[in-house]
Subunit: 263 residues, 2 copies
């Protein structure tokens, strides 16, 4: 599975580090070094995350603080993907997102909105804000809803929280529309990460911990995909009815060992 | 369509009166008198509403203030139907409902909840309250979600608002469950209204303004159903692809004329 590779796509949470709530987290053993070795090898490298509670600036600073050699330009995230989609189609969004994500949309025209963009808005998912987004959407002749992911829920230190997917479903039902989901496992999302690297899918490998979003999504796009046994990996993933990774590895360090040995 | 009738089921909003926002409203011409004539005729009578923003006590007081001869016992509403379901199945609810609806659940054991009941909670649809209801639901071995209706949205004086159905969909998606919907058009809802009257479905007529929830729901239950051309009635309802009323009438007064003339 590791032959003829020119570029690697890495998921972040569960591959580079385990998040510990409240902005904390610890690197997964060997991952800091593995990223350095990829860069030294001359392979192209891009990171690929569904994180939407912070701008890439802020998120990358946290990872740098954990010791990772990573820059904003190397991170493919839903918000910039949404910005590209908005620009291409002349869409002016009403934003229902986390305050920390708003800077990602700084260059986008938001006057007289003709679509709604929904992310993991957390505390911004208030009754008033949801009604406001709904009114924008239902008032459009052809409602367009762009969702920065479709997660059901996630865990924080103070308990489980509803994720963007749940609120997306509420607006979908109320307006009788289907959201366009940006972020993994969307094909266009992987395509834009590949474009950043300038590598065709058949020469790229995705490394992730999520059997459906990372592995399944990348394979749908024509890439090879490897699942690490870290992060949200569970043994039952190895019997997944639809998705079969090209390989399993114990962690990122092992994947990088195999790939660099093939070169 | 008006032969051999022993009981009438009347929708309230759009049949008895048009709501004017902020607790106001005006009776539809002839409806106050029509209710009196039904009662004088000896026909059984029950009212059937999906209202969940107020207790029946409060709602009935408003209707009495508009001149209607109506009492709490004559109103079949989602909250009491939910209470019956809860008691029958030994369910102890976590309530995500409007403050004014809580008295309807006074006699229900709410300790150590093993299900969630969701109504049109309005301002109570906060981020914190939704997460709390979600955590109760996802923490159950077999999550049970009871919804007091499945409306998409409604109009108030200050604009459109998301209705209970939208938030129901959010919880359904997050927990991978299907809500049990109490209220029209649920068959059990009409059955409990019929049981209140002590009249079998084939001897009862439903009169409503909603082609799907009132007319379709009642017919599914074996009743005849008449659509009034008041309230939310729209001319295009007369070409509905699935539902065909047994008759159209201009308003409640006309329906009552025809029925009483047949007796």
């Amino acid at each position: 599975w590791a032959r003829a590779v020119r570029g690697l796509l890495l998921d972040i949470s569960g591959v580079l580090y385990d998040s510990g709530g409240e902005g904390g987290g610890v690197p997964i053993a060997g991952s800091v070094e593995a990223v350095r070795r990829i860069k030294a090898s001359g392979l192209k490298l891009q990171f690929c995350t569904n994180e939407t509670q912070a701008s890439r600036e802020k998120f990358v600073k946290k990872l740098q603080g954990l010791g990772f050699d990573i820059s904003v330009a190397e991170v493919t995230a839903p918000a910039p993907a949404a910005c590209r989609l908005l620009k291409e189609r002349g869409l002016r969004p009403h934003l229902l997102v986390h305050d920390d994500l708003i800077p990602e949309f700084a260059e986008i025209d938001k006057t007289n909105p003709n679509c709604v963009v929904i992310g993991d808005a957390a505390e911004n998912f208030s009754y008033a804000n949801l009604n406001e987004a709904f009114r924008v959407l239902i008032g459009l002749e052809k409602p367009v809803l762009v969702a920065l992911g479709k997660g059901r829920y996630y865990k924080e230190t103070d308990g489980l929280k509803l994720d963007v997917g749940a609120y997306m479903k509420a607006l979908e039902y109320a307006c009788d529309v289907q959201a366009e989901v940006v972020g993994k496992p969307a094909k266009t999302f992987f395509e834009s990460a590949l474009a950043e690297m300038g590598v065709p899918p058949e020469q790229a490998i995705m490394i992730g911990d999520d059997i459906v979003c990372d592995v399944g999504g990348a394979q749908q796009c024509g890439m090879r995909a490897v699942q690490v046994r870290t992060g949200k990996y569970r043994p039952c993933d190895e019997n997944h009815p639809q998705v079969k990774p090209d390989a399993y590895v114990n962690n990122l360090a092992e994947a990088v060992d195999v790939i660099l040995n093939q070169m």
